[in-house]
Amino acid sequence: MIPELGHFALIVALCIAGVQAVLPLIGAQRGDATWMALARPAAQGQLVFVVIAFACLAWSFVANDFSVLNVASNSNSLLPLRYRFAATWGSHEGSLLLWVLMLNLWMTAVSVFSRRLPSEMVARILSVMAMISIGFLLFLLFTSNPFERLLPAAADGRDLNPLLQDPGMVIHPPMLYMGYVGFSVAFAFAIAALIGGQLDATWARWSRPWTTMAWAFLTVGIAMGSGWAYYVLGWGGWWFWDPVENASFMPWLVGTALVHSLAVSEKRGGFKIWTVLLAIIAFSLSLLGTFLVRSGVLTSVHAFATDPKRGIFILAFLALVIGAALALFAWRAPKVGLGGAFALISRESALLVNNVLLFVAAAAVLLGTLYPLFLDALGLGKISVGPPYFESVFVPLMAPAVFLMGIAPFARWKQDQPLDLARRLKWALAVAIASALLLPFTLGLWTPLLALGILLAVWVAVAGVVNVRERVLQLRASTSVPVSTALRRLPRGYWGMLVAHFGVAVFIVGVTLVRGYEVEKDVRMGPGDTVAVGGYQFRLDGLKRIQGPNYDATRGVISVTRDERPVATLHPEKRFFTVQQMPMTEAAIDTGLTRDLYVSLGEPLQDGAWVVRVYYKPFVTWIWGGAFLMALGGIIAVTDRRYRLARRDAIAPTTNAPTAVAQVA
């Protein structure tokens, strides 16, 4: 009964989405206030039914209803409760339902936090989002019904893929999807603005917090996926340039470009056409990511089934969305005026170069990800494009972008003097160069790549500090307030930018140092054996067999000492999941601010010894710490007063388009 209820709720949601997609849009064109006013309640009503559907599915998983095919294939009565709940989005069907749920959450958020937006704008935005919702609801109902029954019911389920039985899995997909789907808001804003012909600074200001928020979620989602790969896959790597990772990284790169180009659109009215195009591309890449991951084109832990109907449906939907959006763009964009002119040395130029570099980087990832698929699809042979390609492309592309990150916050809009900039930044540059030359020596090894990484990280961090000092001095020169007050008076948007940029510096430190100084050893260890890695002694004290809820495991006890002093005791496990008949490695990690000690069990050898993987990973946590700082910066920026003020200002009709209210009156 419950599954049927969920199925029915999805159908109702589809009907509401149909109304929401059509009537408000027509209302906005005709200036019919009643039809436009339908958008908000429709969006909220749709959310109610999608939540009901999601709750029904979650209930089926939690209550072990094995008469539902989806539950029988992806859960088991022995699975712990939290993983049974997470299994709701552990399957293809469930993850799509999560996608739709996220879309509805964003849609309702827009309907609630848009009180100050002109009603035609809200109507168009919600209508565009409803069209996307229709596409995904149809996909769910026709090709991937999560509530499909299995009659007669299975006695027990086939269990969740052991790789997914991990706390990270509980949070990673929702975060990632919040980001992916969040770009639909930026997309809907852009499309609504194109339809209404209102591409102005106000539009950019409205669109900005939504885009930044989505970007922050996506950043956290990707970071969590990377952390999951680090400790679950048992190889100790944090990024593999796997097509599935690339699928989430491409929208991130374009989204980052979009966040920066929106800044120019808001402050200077420039880059508007480019911003709209980026918004369209960012969301298209999100859809492409969904297609790549969900269609079974790529075989990975994310691809659940290879049903060609599904792939074709998403591909058709993708073509429709991108095609329609670009056609609209081609038709309307030429009418958008250009922004203010700017000189070669100006903040606009810096942001333009940043955008070009990020965009080219995204294109490079796209090439490396899709080219092997095309070749394969055309039957021209199988190839793979590995990490060396991506690494050799990324370093030269990102190094200038990061270098500019230090300069851009100093540069004035419109025009600046290169000599003046150099004078203001000379100390930051001196500190960065000195650290790049000296720091690697103190760590024991100097290579050009290490020096470059440290140069860039220190440069961004110190330039940020110098920038704050300059801002405070400026404020105090005019108002002579104490330093603490001056710091507080700096806008949140500015702090957000600084924190996010500082996050990039932290991230670069992590990437550079782990790359340069990590020690990886695969060794044979019997009980009592000792191995030295990175100045630490690892001793295998013993092994014992233990019993988990749905697995058997061998657990190693490894004590770590440094200079005879105990540091940690690690318990790596080799688990064998009984239902799926699948072994899995559970690494044991001692995490520290400056290093991780990583131990995992390989295979048993004949004489009771094991092959053991022992890693010393300096500063590896800084990689995720940096990513979280970037996201935090985004969140701080969203709380800027300016966005709330902007809504209040918008009460007065600021646009030159005829307002609907006027026509109705």
């Binding site: 832990v301 042979g381 199988k382 494009v385 699948m582 092959v611």
Partner: protein
């Protein structure tokens, strides 16, 4: 004008960089039959795939180095690898290895990939076996060709 020229130059440079990196980092895939037919390059990294020959896995004295044979049921390629094999590496199951072919005909792998779950076979491996089987079936067919009958 300067700005446009500079950005065009930068774009061109970036495109050149990318395509060059792309060209030199493509990793091609060869089946054991293709390797046996000497189609695979010497001195360049490539991937092979197929099934791990049952009973072929041997561990060397240090416990970390392994030898095994990858087969597409028609031809076999011996592989050596130093490191921990993935969890789902099993004799008789699909595998993909990346590395270089030595002059002794032994494939020196620096990466061994299995799969993410028990039901899945690496597509390259499945493809290689499929092709070899088809080739075998073809030769079978020619044997029982009616024209060959006495």
């Amino acid at each position: 004008m300067v700005l446009i020229a500079v950005s065009l130059l930068a774009l061109g440079g970036a495109a050149g960089l990318i395509l060059n990196a792309f060209q030199s980092n493509l990793v091609f895939f060869f089946s054991p039959s293709q390797v046996a037919a000497r189609e695979a390059p010497q001195g360049r990294s490539f991937r092979i795939g197929g099934l791990v020959q049952p009973g072929s896995l041997q561990r060397q004295g240090d416990g970390v180095s392994v030898r095994f044979v990858v087969t597409d049921t028609a031809h076999d390629i011996p592989v050596v690898y130093a490191g921990i094999l993935p969890d789902l590496f099993k004799e008789g199951k699909g595998v993909v290895a990346q590395g270089q072919l030595g002059s002794d005909g032994v494939f020196h792998a620096n990466e061994v990939l299995a799969k993410h779950d028990a039901n899945y076979m690496p597509p390259e491996a499945a493809d290689a076996v499929e092709k070899a089987k088809r080739a075998a079936a073809m030769s079978q067919k020619t044997l029982i060709d009616p024209r060959n009958k006495p």
